[in-house]
Amino acid sequence: MSAAEMISDVATSSARRSRVNAMVRRSDTALLGLIALITLVAVATLSDFRTLSNINNLLNTTALIAIVAIGEAVVILARQIDLSVGAILGICAYLVGEWSGHFSGPFGPVIGVLLALALGAGFGLGNALLVNVFKMPAIIATLATLSIYTGLQIIVNNGSQLYLTQVPKWLAGLRGNAWFGIGTFIWIAAIVLVAVSFILRRTRFGRDVYALGSNPEAAAYLGVKIRLRTFQIFALCGALAGLGGLLYTSQFGNVDATAGNGMNLTVIAAAVVGGVSLFGGAGTALSAVLGALLLGEIQNVLELTRISIFAEQTLQGAAIVIAVAVYAVVSRRLRRPVRREAFLSEHPTLNPAAIEAAGGTSNG
């Protein structure tokens, strides 16, 4: 394929992508609508739902999951996956909780957060190493690291656990605090959402992530530094998992070797339900948050209506399958009109011949 054809191909697929993104944006609205609907029905029919305590719990638990889901979403956007986030969360919950105990004073929180991000990123880099250097498919690489990190988690806990008494006061109180009436967890989730959305939309990194997800070969030709981006993507996911670990310590007080178990499915379900496509290239950070919110709400309603405390896994599993199917079917319907010829006839300047005539393609 000549470079000219490659460029017009990319343009076509990026037009496809913006159509898909338009759909995703529509799905964001649809999700918001669905969430609003469920909320209204629940508030009207379940007296337990509308208690302040319940809403507070719901939002705070969702905030924690949303943060980790945002990290997972970034990885999925690039057509990878990370199954080890739960274990990373668990190790960081223990280690950061313990180490922060040594840093009192006003800078304690700052150091704690930085520590969590750095440690999590480190584990994420381990994943990236396997994908980049060992050329393992991400699914198998993170399946392996899941077992390794879980084993590390147990070793680190060393037959005991982290006790609330070892956790610094600022961390212990984080969950219960509120700034301007809104819980700290929610604030943190909002900050992460804004930051990651900015990174995805406005930076080179973000554009590369989408490029890698939509069309890795084209991305390579266009000069995207794949290896570097892969390291960064997994590091970001790990860092957010680490931050989630910090919040976990605050939420549960005690951290033992089971921290974070099962979170992998929850987080991937949140991202996928929110519209982050496992084909890569479609979705936003907001998608992950909305997905987390929707699933969390359904989970809450199921609990309150006493359906079963065992319904969680079924819900998440079914949600993944349904969401993937629905989004795939819908997006395929949207992709169909944008055929290459039709697109090129609308955009004559993107015609390969035109590009070559303009003389702009040596082996760039």
Binding site: M136, I139, I140, A144, T145, G151, S308, T314, A318, A328
Partner: protein, 356 residues
């Protein structure tokens, strides 16, 4: 002679060497690895692993993946146990359980193939869904009484010997799978589809049917593994067998099946399962804790995948330097699917646009 050299250099031979090494070192370290009791219990405990791996292997060979096998195991095991506990005839309960497992696999196949959804996502979702349903059925309880026939299948020995019956059964299944995969047209189409789906389609292979059948087989064998689990542990519990997913996938990859599809052998998978079983046993005897063993399996998976391209380039180096005569006879020998190094790049290209 050249064939013999090829066998010796093959991935599978490497596995045999590793197994022998593990046995030697394990026996030296702990004196108990090869005792009849240990071999018996190891053989019994790992039939489930081998059964799962035999089901997953064809799926990975065609370039898909199936994470939901442990979910199918749990669900069909729980259903069988529940039915038996409620007094249903053993044979009927087993039949229902196995048919259910078939259906679970069929659902996977339909979703992945007909809806063209990524196998990773679908089977991750169905893993959660199937396991979750087993929880909905049984809650936190466990069923612990089973008919004698089931227990015999799962834990007793062949009459008059020390050889567990279940092991023989699973090895027989392995033989059947080896025949299907390596000696039938269907089997050949597995490798073709795994190598390049588009090319396979153009050669007239019913790609969709092939892929769906691999998922059905995977589901069925997972259900059978559930039955063996019931007999072996005499327990049906929601979420049972969950810890076997990683070892099963490791056994497949370690067995030489490429994670990208298109290559691998069933004997390789069996050898890898044996190696894994002995390695875990040796580690356990030597005092490695549960998490230590799991970590070892994780590392082994990484090494196995890392070693595959190394083995391939080593073999290519050997071929290049071993003279024309060798190359000629090596060329007609075992083919490693479509991924010889020269065609690697274009193969990957074709495959990815096909997935798109």
């Amino acid at each position: 002679m050249a064939r013999f050299r090829q066998l010796v250099l093959s991935w599978e031979a490497g596995l045999v060497v590793l197994t022998v090494l593990v046995v030697i070192f394990g026996q030296l370290a702990d004196h108990d690895l090869i005792s009849s009791f240990n071999l018996q219990t190891t053989a019994l405990n790992n039939v489930i692993l081998l059964c799962l791996a035999l089901g997953v292997a064809p799926v990975i060979m065609t370039g898909d993946i199936d994470l939901s096998v442990v979910g199918t195991l749990a669900l069909s095991g729980v259903v069988m146990g529940d039915l038996m506990a409620h007094g249903m005839a053993t044979g009927l309960a087993i039949a229902i359980g196995l048919v259910l497992a078939l259906v679970c696999g069929l659902i996977n196949g339909l979703l992945v193939v007909l809806f063209d959804l990524p196998a990773l996502a679908v089977t991750l979702g169905t893993m959660g869904a199937y396991t979750g349903i087993s929880f909905l059925i049984l809650g936190g309880l466990a069923i612990t009484t089973f008919p004698n026939s089931v227990v015999s299948l799962g834990s007793s020995n062949l009459t008059g010997t020390q050889v567990p019956f279940a092991t023989v059964v699973v090895l027989a299944i392995a033989a059947i799978m080896a025949y299907l995969v390596h000696f039938t047209t269907w089997g050949k189409s597995l490798f073709a589809v795994g190598g390049s789906r588009k090319a396979a389609l153009f050669s007239g292979i019913a790609v969709n049917r092939v892929r769906i059948t691999t998922f059905i087989i995977s589901g069925f064998l997972a259900g059978f593994a559930g039955l063996l689990f019931l007999g072996n542990y005499e327990t049906a519990q929601a979420g049972m067998g969950a810890s076997q997913l990683l070892p099963a996938i490791t056994a497949v990859i370690l067995g030489g099946v490429s994670a990208y599809g298109g290559t691998g052998t069933i004997p390789g998978v069996v050898l890898a399962a044996i190696l894994l079983a002995l390695l875990q046993s040796a580690l356990g005897l030597h005092g490695f804790s549960g998490e230590g063993q799991t970590m070892a399996v994780g590392f082994l998976l990484i090494i196995a995948i890392g070693a595959q391209p190394l083995a391939r380039s080593a073999r290519d180096w050997w071929r290049r330097h071993a003279g024309v005569r060798e190359i000629a006879s090596a060329g007609t020998g075992e083919s490693r699917g479509g991924s010889e190094s020269s065609s690697g790049a274009s193969g990957a290209e074709v495959r990815s646009t096909a997935v798109n």
